[in-house]
């Protein structure tokens, strides 16, 4: 009998300690709020090198000049391709509206056709210009969606000198899950600077899909900025690497840059 008593005592202690631990973890929604309220600057200009690598290790490298600016709640992004030669002067422009019911607008200028082409509203889970980022991820940058997911703090973790909160985000319903293409997402958030350093995604069948890592994080004009973002897609074995250079939040960026005229005329 004594042994049973001992075992049940042991188990109840264990259960209690887990419950206590859970209680001591900070609310995930609060963490997400900290991440999302981090300063991103009203506008930014930067050089962006996109490197896409396929299963067999073959690379496509594209150098671009990229601009982003908030117009109130509306976010506009313009990307001008500089290399390779055959897509030089191609440019991409997008208007992300705060209003959820309004489809975002996207245009691509093809110099060989001398015409700005409107791209039909992409699904949020569609891939962005041959990269492993979805349009949704490009739009969110380092933020975490509040509307799409239910968040839960999994643990607090210390890895290689950095303290993280690990939060799990599950789409609120199957419709959202299907739209985004994920069934679950885990984010490793740096406790000190409220920036996501790693995010792991699972597809709608529950299989590991991809990992996004944010590295080379430096303070630029008082704003924490990741200079390298890498996506590894485990299903297609395709990877994408974004490297940012000459990040400038102070430069005055003309509103004109975000127009179809500039797209066509070039910088």
């Amino acid at each position: 009998m004594k042994i049973y008593l001992f075992i049940s005592l042991f188990i109840s202690t264990l259960v209690c300690s887990f419950t206590l631990q859970a209680n001591t973890l900070i609310d995930a929604n609060w963490i997400v709020q900290q991440v999302n309220s981090r300063d991103e600057g009203e506008a930014v200009s930067r050089q962006l090198t996109m490197t896409m690598i396929d299963r067999s290790g073959k690379k496509r490298v594209r150098e671009t000049q990229a601009f982003r600016k908030y117009f109130g709640d509306e976010k506009r992004t313009a990307i001008f391709y500089e290399t390779p030669k055959n897509i030089k002067d191609t440019a991409f422009l997008t208007y992300d509206y705060a209003n959820k019911n309004k489809d975002d607008d996207q245009w691509l200028y093809l110099p060989a056709m001398r015409r700005v082409r409107r791209i039909s509203a992409a699904d949020r889970g569609d891939y962005f210009l041959g990269t492993d980022f979805t349009y949704e991820e490009i739009k969110l940058e380092t933020k975490i969606s509040v509307d799409d997911y239910n968040h839960r703090t999994l643990k607090s973790k210390y890895i290689e000198g950095i303290d993280y909160y690990v939060i799990e985000s599950v789409p609120k319903n199957s419709h959202v899950a299907k739209e985004l293409g994920y069934s679950k997402l885990e984010s490793y958030i740096d406790k000190n600077i409220w920036i996501t350093r790693k995010a792991i995604y699972w597809d709608t069948k529950g299989n590991l899909l991809k990992t996004i890592t944010f590295t080379d994080i430096r303070l630029i004009q008082n704003i924490w900025t990741a200079h390298q973002i890498k996506v590894v897609n485990y299903k297609t074995e395709h990877t994408t690497e974004f490297i940012f250079k000459n990040v400038n939040y102070d430069q005055v960026i003309s509103n004109k840059i975000f127009t179809q005229q500039t797209l066509k005329r070039g910088l």
Binding site: M52, I53, Y127, L129
Partner: protein, 816 residues
């Protein structure tokens, strides 16, 4: 054989019969030893296994598959025989239902499932390129379904590949994450199809290369586990009828077991997998291995009936010693047949088949000569009612009587027999000259199999299930943005699509044309390659704005340097695709021969072409080699070129008979049939060896009795030769039954190449047997060759021929 050998043999036999327990125990231990390796056996049912692993065609194909991420897919075909074909709300819903179920299967690579409800349409509107699913929402009215049909038929790439030209059929193409799951997935797909909610006019099929190789391993295992016990039962029954004693029925079983386990066990130990063709090995060995013990047991029972006063040990030694020479000889010749297969073939499955069958036969010979005598000592067999009648005289049972009747008939009409054999030879030569190769992987299945019917159904309406790939490489990165290179690809496709057997072809050029058209108000005239390198590269960027990063993986490499042109053929048989492959080779050599652009062939069809075109060569090489070796061994054994050559007559006639038969029945040379001649030769020579051996003994004993050797007249010759039939003839008859039934069982196989192999060899040994007991005695009678012990002069032959002629005309008259 010389006296030294004889004494050695008899010394061995004295020892064997003196230590029967030791011999039997070591025999059983060896069987256990071989059996221990069996559990590690693996299967390799892939068509690729027919080429050596280091074959350039195979290595190149693997590279191509790696570059373009290709895989052998499985396919579900949805057919609707109704007016609108599959374009009606119910069938689209069925396709959607199936696709969703397939996507949920764990073995399926979700990224690589293609169906009408997963694929995107590339179309254009006033502002830009639209890449969106064909079926965004399921159509609920016929009108909506018609709209979908219009979209699909407006996208030339999918017509023939996803939806048939007549709209009756649509495919769901499924790739696996791991090919090893093939058989299991095929079963799940069949189960899925069985439970699918099918409406009127709808039919479902499951097929595809992936399905074929996936199912084949299950199929051949089922087949073998049905046939092996069957052949054992038949052979055991045969032994029972031959000897009608427990020992006579069961002893050959040890030999069979040893032959089969040693061949399969050593194969396993050497790390060779089971190929489709080697699954037949145990069945064949059962039939061939039993023959030796039949001869020993026959001799034993015959001696026992003739000399009842001899001790058991002397009887056993005497019987074994008499059979020692012919058994060693026939074992060696049979092994040579398989050796011919091994030496002449460049295909690993056939090499394995040749070499391990040889081993099995050697073991069978050793067990027959060593373990069987030992067993006879341990379990002394009583008289066999087949050999001894109740009043203790030597009995001629129904089989002996039958053989004697045949003997009389043959000797009476020797010339007719020879004429008939010449006609057979003529027909055989004609057949051999017209021998052609044909083979398709799907021919591994019976025509009543679901998988075979699915293949036929899909090939009837779609672009085809057999792929021939052409890899076009440019010398620089992004070389395939250049219009001149894309035009070359376009022309290549035009060229190949002119062949009837080609259902269609796809390449990156088709997608570029579709994009160009979409961006030019969908005008049909704009379905062409634009003449601007930059524009083409920008199309890809534009496409990427809505497509997936890996979308064109199967058509073009990531550097835009290599493109894959996939040609689909509606028939996977060599005779159908050979002209296409050869014409393409010439076309490529002429058009893709500069430093800027090159092309080479690959794909399943090309791999098949590579190994099948060499089949005729390898076949005749194998036959010639086996024939030469068998002849050499026979000459050496009989120490006479004449006797050796005479022994070759039955097998040469049987080989020619196979060709005649193949020609008459329209059977082509293929995986199964290519080995028949060499194997049939190796086995068939046994009958001639036994016949000649006995004739020599008979002539020797008779001429010794005569004072004047020249006195041997026609009547005497007949009576000498007739003695051949009741004893040797009877043993040969059972030997023939055993081999015939062994291969005949294989004829019942559900795997058509094996069934054909079995039937043809059964046919070949029948001819060898018949010729050995008819043509050989007829030849001997007419020519009375000196090398057999006849004291002849020229007049004798003339006389004999003359008599034979008179005789056969007599026979004709009588008949009339």
């Amino acid at each position: 054989m010389n006296t030294l050998n004889k004494t050695k043999t008899s010394a061995l036999l004295w020892w064997l019969t003196g230590n029967p327990k030791k011999v039997l125990l070591s025999g059983l231990l060896a069987i256990l030893f071989f059996t221990a390796f069996l559990p590690q056996l693996t299967m390799d049912p892939e068509a690729e296994s027919f080429l050596p692993k280091d074959s350039p065609a195979l290595i190149y194909r693997q590279q191509v598959e790696d570059i373009f991420g290709l895989n052998d897919p499985m396919v579900i075909a949805v057919t609707n025989e109704g007016k609108n074909g599959i374009f009606n709300p119910d069938s689209i819903e069925l396709i959607h239902w199936l696709t969703q179920k397939v996507l949920a299967m764990p073995a399926v690579n979700q990224e690589r499932v293609i169906s009408l409800t997963t694929e995107d349409n590339i179309s254009g509107n006033a502002e830009g390129l639209v890449v969106e699913p064909f079926v965004d929402e399921l159509p609920i009215s016929q009108q909506q379904a018609d709209g979908l049909a219009q979209h699909v038929f407006d996208f030339p790439l999918y017509v023939g590949s996803i939806v048939s030209k007549d709209a009756s059929t649509s495919l769901i193409v499924i790739e696996l994450t791991d090919d090893a799951n093939g058989p299991a997935l095929y079963e799940s797909l069949l189960a899925l199809v069985a439970e699918a909610p099918i409406k009127q006019n709808e039919v479902l099929h499951v097929a595809g290369d992936g399905a074929v190789s996936g199912y084949l391993s299950t199929y051949i295992v089922t087949d073998a586990s049905r046939l092996v016990p069957l052949s054992v039962i038949i052979i055991t029954l045969l032994c029972f009828f031959a000897f009608r004693t427990v020992q006579g029925t069961l002893l050959p079983g040890i030999v069979i077991l040893a032959a089969a386990t040693s061949a399969m066990g050593v194969m396993s130990a050497m790390g060779d997998p089971i190929y489709v063709i080697t699954t037949s090995m145990p069945i064949l060995l059962v039939g061939i291995a039993v023959a030796d013990s039949i001869h020993i047991m026959s001799e034993y029972y015959e001696q026992r009936a003739a000399q009842p006063e001899l001790s058991q040990r002397l009887l056993v030694i005497d019987a074994t010693q008499k059979m020692w020479r012919p058994i060693v000889l026939t074992t060696v010749t049979s092994m040579i047949g398989f050796f011919g297969v091994y030496l002449s073939s460049y295909m690993p499955p056939m090499q394995a088949f040749g070499i391990y069958s040889m081993l099995g036969l050697a073991i069978a010979g050793i067990y027959s000569l060593c373990v069987v005598p030992a067993c006879l000592m341990l379990m002394p067999a009583g008289d066999s009612s087949a050999f001894k009648s109740k009043n203790n005289t030597i009995k001629n049972d129904i089989f002996s009587t039958f053989m004697t009747t045949i003997g009389k008939l043959v000797l009476a009409r020797a010339k007719t027999v020879l004429t008939l054999s010449l006609i057979l030879a003529g027909a055989g030569i004609y057949g051999a000259m017209n021998l052609s190769v044909n083979e398709s992987w799907v021919d591994n299945f019976k025509k009543t199999e679901l998988i075979y019917q699915a293949d036929v159904a899909i090939n009837a309406t779609m672009n085809g299930t057999s792929n021939l790939d052409i890899v076009v490489s440019t010398h620089e990165k992004e070389g395939l943005f250049k219009p001149e290179n894309l035009h070359k690809i376009e022309k290549l496709q035009d060229f190949v699509e002119r062949f009837d057997v080609v259902g269609g072809s796809t390449s990156i050029a088709d997608y570029i044309k579709q994009m160009n058209r979409s961006l030019n108000e969908n005008k049909p005239s704009e379905y062409r390659i634009p003449n601007d390198e930059n524009l083409i590269s920008q199309y890809f960027l534009l496409y990427a704005a809505s497509g997936d990063p890996t979308d064109f993986e199967e058509e073009i490499d990531y550097d835009y340097q290599q493109a894959l042109v996939r040609v689909q053929l509606t028939n996977g048989r060599l005779q159908s695709f050979k002209p296409v492959v050869e014409a393409l080779q010439v076309y490529i050599n002429n058009e893709f021969n500069d430093t800027h652009i090159k092309a080479s062939l690959s794909g399943r069809v090309y791999v098949d072409y590579e190994w099948l075109t060499n089949l005729v060569d390898s076949h005749f090489k194998g036959v010639a080699l086996a024939l030469l070796l068998v002849w050499l061994v026979a000459c050496l054994a009989f120490k006479s070129i004449g006797t050796g050559s005479l022994a070759l007559v039955p097998v040469m006639l049987s080989t020619l008979a196979i060709y005649a038969f193949m020609g008459a029945a329209g059977i082509t040379l293929a995986v199964g049939t290519t080995m028949t001649a060499a194997i049939g030769l190796g086995i068939g020579i046994d009958f001639a060896v036994h016949t000649i051996e006995r004739v020599k003994v008979l002539i020797k004993s008779h001429t010794a009795e005569l004072h004047e050797p020249d006195e041997l007249n026609k009547v005497q010759i007949d009576s000498i030769l007739l003695q051949l039939f009741p004893s040797t003839g009877r043993a040969l008859l059972f030997n023939f039954f055993a081999v015939f039934l062994g291969f005949g069982v294989l004829g019942l196989s559900y795997v058509p190449p094996l069934a054909k192999l079995g039937m043809l060899i059964a046919f070949a040994v029948s001819i060898s047997f018949i010729v050995s007991i008819t043509v050989l005695p007829a030849l001997i009678k007419i020519f009375q060759p000196r090398f057999l012990g006849f004291q002849q002069d020229k007049n004798h032959i003339a006389l004999a021929l003359n008599e034979a002629t008179i005789e056969s005309s007599h026979a004709h008259q009588e008949k009339a």
